[in-house]
């Protein structure tokens, strides 16, 4: 399986040093211009925006996903599978169809505005769709299961007696969560955050459909280079830099974490 993975990767690495053929495709002349292209301040704005949105998505997914995953892990064992299925079934419908449904919910004459006006919360419809909020809702919705599943996997069979003891010892639920539950579920939290952060960085359909395509995220940029500009070399260069960035962050984490683990174990 490794070859199916590493050889394509090497091909793309090679492509990122080539240049765009006039009709698209790849011309095999070595150059670094693609990477030079990346230092453009215009692109830095795109990277910054994307990272901010991806971080917000990750935080929200964690906030929403944790209680859900925890309750599932707490449920009687025969119910757990059913709960997980219930969480996943919405995602067996097509992504585009789900996104269109959100557009219907959020649009000016949509469900949300109608509901809020009828409830007397407000008098004038507000523009929910085509904003960063809509993008955020879409991303959180799309990637919530990426958070719930690893959290569940890590939380299941968390030693109940430890938590019970903690309840007796600490006054507030918050400190129980912070000092006992969170440290115990840390690997799940990390896995979930990686699985949410990375794909939301590369998202491009959600920003276009729910955000109104008024700005760009890295995902849009890459998609644009590959499939509109037909500039595979530049697309590859952007992808590679992005990859390197995220990987370095993750690996740095694992490295320090490994060291800490060893310290804790007294090795």
């Amino acid at each position: 399986m490794g070859i199916f993975f590493f050889i394509p990767l090497l091909i793309v690495l090679a492509v990122s040093f080539a240049s765009r053929g006039t009709d698209g495709g790849v011309e095999w002349t070595f150059s670094l211009t693609n990477y030079a292209h990346l230092a453009d301040p215009l692109y830095f704005r795109i990277y910054g925006r994307s990272i901010a949105l991806a971080l917000a998505t990750t935080a929200l997914c964690l906030l929403l996903g944790f209680p859900l995953a925890y309750s599932i892990a707490r449920a009687p064992i025969r119910w757990q599978g059913i709960w997980l299925l219930l969480v996943m079934i919405p995602f067996w419908t097509n992504f585009l169809v789900r996104t269109y449904a959100w557009m219907f919910i959020l649009r000016t004459e949509g469900l949300m505005n109608t509901l809020l006006i009828n409830l007397g919360v407000m008098t004038q419809p507000i523009e929910l769709l085509y904003s960063d909020w809509a993008i955020l809702i879409g991303l959180v919705y799309g990637y919530l299961p990426f958070m719930v599943l690893p959290l569940y996997a890590a939380t299941e069979r968390l030693d109940l007696s430890v938590v019970e003891a903690a309840w007796d010892l600490y006054a507030t639920g918050w400190s129980v969560f912070w000092r006992v539950i969170l440290p115990l579920t840390k690997p799940g939290v990390i896995a979930g955050c990686i699985l949410v952060f990375i794909p939301s960085l590369g998202a491009f359909i959600t920003p276009d459909l729910l955000g109104g395509a008024k700005t760009m995220m890295v995902g849009n940029l890459i998609q644009h280079e590959y499939l509109v500009m037909r500039d595979w070399p530049l697309g590859s260069a952007i992808s590679f830099s992005l990859m390197a960035l995220v990987l370095l962050a993750v690996m740095a984490y694992f490295k320090t974490d490994g060291r800490l683990d060893r310290l804790e174990r007294g090795v």
């Binding site: 765009r20 006039t22 009709d23 698209g24 495709g25 215009l42 704005r45 795109i46 064992i77 025969r78 599978g81 059913i82 299925l85 269109y100 557009m103 649009r107 000016t108 004459e109 523009e127 769709l129 085509y130 276009d208 459909l209 109104g212 395509a213 008024k214 700005t215 760009m216 940029l221 644009h224 590959y226 499939l227 509109v228 500009m229 037909r230």
Partner: protein, 358 residues
């Protein structure tokens, strides 16, 4: 149903449930390979919905061959796939500018026009097109224009100029295509330039023009402007005629205009790929799609004009008279084909990214 009694643990049963969802949906399906006797198979790579199943079935009977349809959603996807080396397709339907690229890339086979008698019925306006004047590689199939769809209850008098998209009264009720060439094309037309301009100063001016428009735009979309028009959320939509014609069918107050500065004309063409192993069948299939009756049926369904001049008379009258489907004669001199700009496209790309990030 599988008998549940044989299952031993409750966990097993839950997984069984999951797999039954899968099985029950897949069990009743015939696969694509069933049905026709093993004979010749034609692989057609086209826009989704471009050909209706009943037409395919009719051709399969006539030619006693099987047709497999695969779909793409942009010219670039089509090119990427073919450039990547995906072979096996016989007939494809690229748009005008993409035909010239595919010719240069050596992806297309020359057409045997004697096997496509319906090619002689091309509408006069679609003969000798700049990207393939002698129809050596391609024949126009469906075509149309880009213009403004508007709600005549809101916008009156009817707009005549693209500048209506800069009218502050309609702030937040305007949608633009999410397509760099088309959007820049509008601005270039407004400042009196060709939409194929390669002059950096001109492109810079167009960008400034678009930046001043951005605060008025509700969304850039190539997909949902028909829905936005119908629901009344936008009153002005920059878009393809066919989609706006579909919106008209649901909300009669919607009208279509190609503004006086002119706009884009496009045509999706039928081509045979060089790697096709069934070239005769491919020519026959193209001839079938270009048949007046078949073409008229396609136009009635899709609301894109057919290239066949005899087909127009067979099309529903209301579509024939609809400027979103068949452009008015008077607009023709103002229409322009979009050319592939080669490396000059970088300037548009840069300006487009700046527009988006502003």
């Amino acid at each position: 149903m599988v008998n549940n009694h044989q299952m031993h643990t409750s966990r097993n049963r839950k997984w069984l449930a999951a797999f039954l969802c899968v099985a029950s949906l897949s069990a009743c399906q015939p696969t694509a390979e069933d049905g026709l006797k093993k004979g010749r198979t034609l692989y057609y790579f086209t826009w989704s919905d471009y050909v209706s199943p009943d037409l395919i079935a009719e051709f399969e009977r006539q030619a006693s061959a099987k047709v497999v349809v695969d779909t793409f959603s942009s010219n670039e996807e089509l090119l990427a796939k073919l450039q990547g080396g995906a072979t096996g397709y016989d007939v494809a339907a690229p748009s005008d500018f993409m035909v010239s690229i595919m010719v240069r890339q050596g992806l297309l086979a020359e057409l045997a026009l004697e096997k496509i008698p319906n090619a002689t019925l091309l509408a006069e306006r679609l003969q000798r097109l700049p990207f393939d004047p002698d129809n050596r590689y391609s024949i126009p199939y469906l075509w149309g224009t880009v213009g403004i769809g508007y709600d005549s209850n809101v916008i009156s008098p009817p707009p005549e100029s693209w500048t209506v998209l800069w009218d502050p009264r309609f702030k937040g009720r305007i949608s633009m295509l999410n397509d760099q060439r088309e959007v820049f094309g509008v601005a270039l037309r407004v400042i009196g330039q060709s939409l194929n301009s390669r002059d950096p100063t001109v492109i810079g001016q167009a960008k400034a023009k678009l930046l001043s428009q951005k605060p008025l735009v509700k969304t850039y979309t190539s997909e949902s402007y028909d829905q936005l028009l119908i629901s009344g959320e936008v009153a002005l939509a920059h878009g393809w005629g066919g989609a706006i014609a579909r919106a008209m069918a649901e909300r009669p107050s919607i009208k279509y205009v190609v503004p006086k500065e002119g706009g884009t004309i496009w045509a999706d063409c039928l081509v045979v790929l060089k790697t096709s192993r069934n070239k005769d069948l491919a020519m026959r299939f193209i001839n079938y799609l270009l048949d007046p009756v078949v073409a008229a049926r396609t136009t009635n369904r899709l609301r894109f004009a057919s290239s066949n001049r005899q087909a127009k008379a067979l099309v529903d009258e209301q579509l024939r008279e609809n400027p979103a489907v068949y452009p008015l004669d008077s607009t023709f001199d103002r229409l322009e084909w979009m050319a592939d700009l080669g490396d000059a496209i970088r300037q548009y790309d840069r300006a487009w990214t700046e527009l988006k990030m502003q």
